[in-house]
Symmetry: C2
Subunit: 333 residues, 2 copies
Amino acid sequence: MPDLRYDVLGIGNAIVDVIARADDDFLVRQKMQKGGMALIDEGRADAIYDAMGPAVEASGGSAANTIVGVAGFGARAAFVGKIKDDELGRAFAHDIRAAGVAFNTPPAADGPSTARCYVMVTPDGERTMNTYLGAAQDLHPADVDPDTIAAAAITYLEGYLWDPPHAKEAFRKAAKVAHEAKRQVALTLSDAFCVDRYRAEFLDLIRSGTVDLVFANERELTSLYQTADFDTAAKALRNDAKLAVVTRSEKGCVVVSKSDMIAVPAAPIAKLVDATGAGDLFAAGFLFGLARGRDHRTAAKLGAIAAAEVIQHIGARPEVSLRELAQQNGLPV
Amino acid sequence: MPDLRYDVLGIGNAIVDVIARADDDFLVRQKMQKGGMALIDEGRADAIYDAMGPAVEASGGSAANTIVGVAGFGARAAFVGKIKDDELGRAFAHDIRAAGVAFNTPPAADGPSTARCYVMVTPDGERTMNTYLGAAQDLHPADVDPDTIAAAAITYLEGYLWDPPHAKEAFRKAAKVAHEAKRQVALTLSDAFCVDRYRAEFLDLIRSGTVDLVFANERELTSLYQTADFDTAAKALRNDAKLAVVTRSEKGCVVVSKSDMIAVPAAPIAKLVDATGAGDLFAAGFLFGLARGRDHRTAAKLGAIAAAEVIQHIGARPEVSLRELAQQNGLPV
């Protein structure tokens, strides 16, 4: 077994967020499903960009945000995802490396441009996303280096990887390599509509033990089991998964294992500014705690403070040191 | 005389800001003059970007920020500045148009990329800037359309235009056209180091009446007259300029005219987050007030609330409606 070089390695869509404030009327006029993530083609991307207000660009991508969070806690982190060698791609690479994350996936020299997610933030702080996958569609199994996967305690995969055509093969390859090296595999269900697109496959990943740990929010969980009742869905998840965490926004989270179900409250916030990245940063804290051998409750508390930080400003990456934030909150790092 | 189509038209460097937090040690290691703006070449730009932390990209440019602010108050605004037809250039054009500003300068098809300003924000909220002028260097007199200038009540020019080789010719052309059409011309001195580079020319612009209104902060003013004493410099300015406004950070501003000197306090803020754009947005409010025929004190109050808004968040463009902000503060719009 190779040396442990990374606490957490993430594989996901490498995306630059284009973030603007919008009112609810804008979402209605643009036929956007509030709070969800829709996939769009280039023509629709251009039309949305023309219609939306002044924006800022910031590196994003669900698993990438998580991995930056893991590094922010002081852990060793790596990311695999496909950019193009263009201005946005170079910004993505700069930002994730500047955050201390190892990122060595070769950029695409041609083909579609680096993926963009148009994020509309409404006055209530909710975010509605439209993603043009672009170069992220070209993530292939060849981009997954077995030695690197085997060197990571946890490999973390986003459900969104089911959207690009070859990425699920990269996902399955990584999961296989990780388990052969006696490492852990984690999955986030990503989005309720994503779950709706790939329900059978996600259930199979969980039930077959291809993933050891599942992250879901309430909407994703109830979409997975096609029930409106949280408790019913949570029981079903407990039956299917080895370990799972269900996040419930301001109600905190529930850690679901065979032995027990632990509820952990959300961390207090002054004001919800932009919900983008809440789930991603919760996962960062939980994965960091797990990689450091903490109990589930402590891991969930680490997740809660990271999520609370990221929703109090625009953008999906932390603006302060999560390591110091944990220390200020009396949590182990 | 053509119809009045714009309250304020700005000419300036079209720049995308690349903003990151940095500590004071970083500035020292990188030999950066805290609080100033340094011009850099492409090699230095790459070196700074490699060394700096995770960043966000947001449209900037001093006069462009001002003009977006003018539009935010509900006035008719236009901007002239040179981008390249690349990803950052398209972002600049999108953002300024989405803010309601007329922007029709043809982008450069080739040559250097769209200008970038690397902005380091230290924990005290001060910003230190390094600008790679790129495509902004290619602003030529031909980019200044006389009919458009003549249709603007005030043409606003940034001192930074003295840096690109041909932009000062565009500046002089615009000032001439404006005065022939009986319009007003305003100038910001931009930066103390910029004043140091072009002191004689700036003094000539003011003394010759090429500009009717001058904006300066304390450091720019004392650099202009090469004295450490504010009162001495203010008296000299009063002698030279028809009308001037000197901004003094938390001490507010002084409106300097032949008839009197009016001090107006700064608007209160909760926390200084990022000083970028403070002077630009002050100018926006003052120019808006002037274009609407308000007295100097009211115009300065409009400037003060716009400056207070922009320094309480990251980035140099307002995040809320300045029109509504003015109304909430009992100021006329």
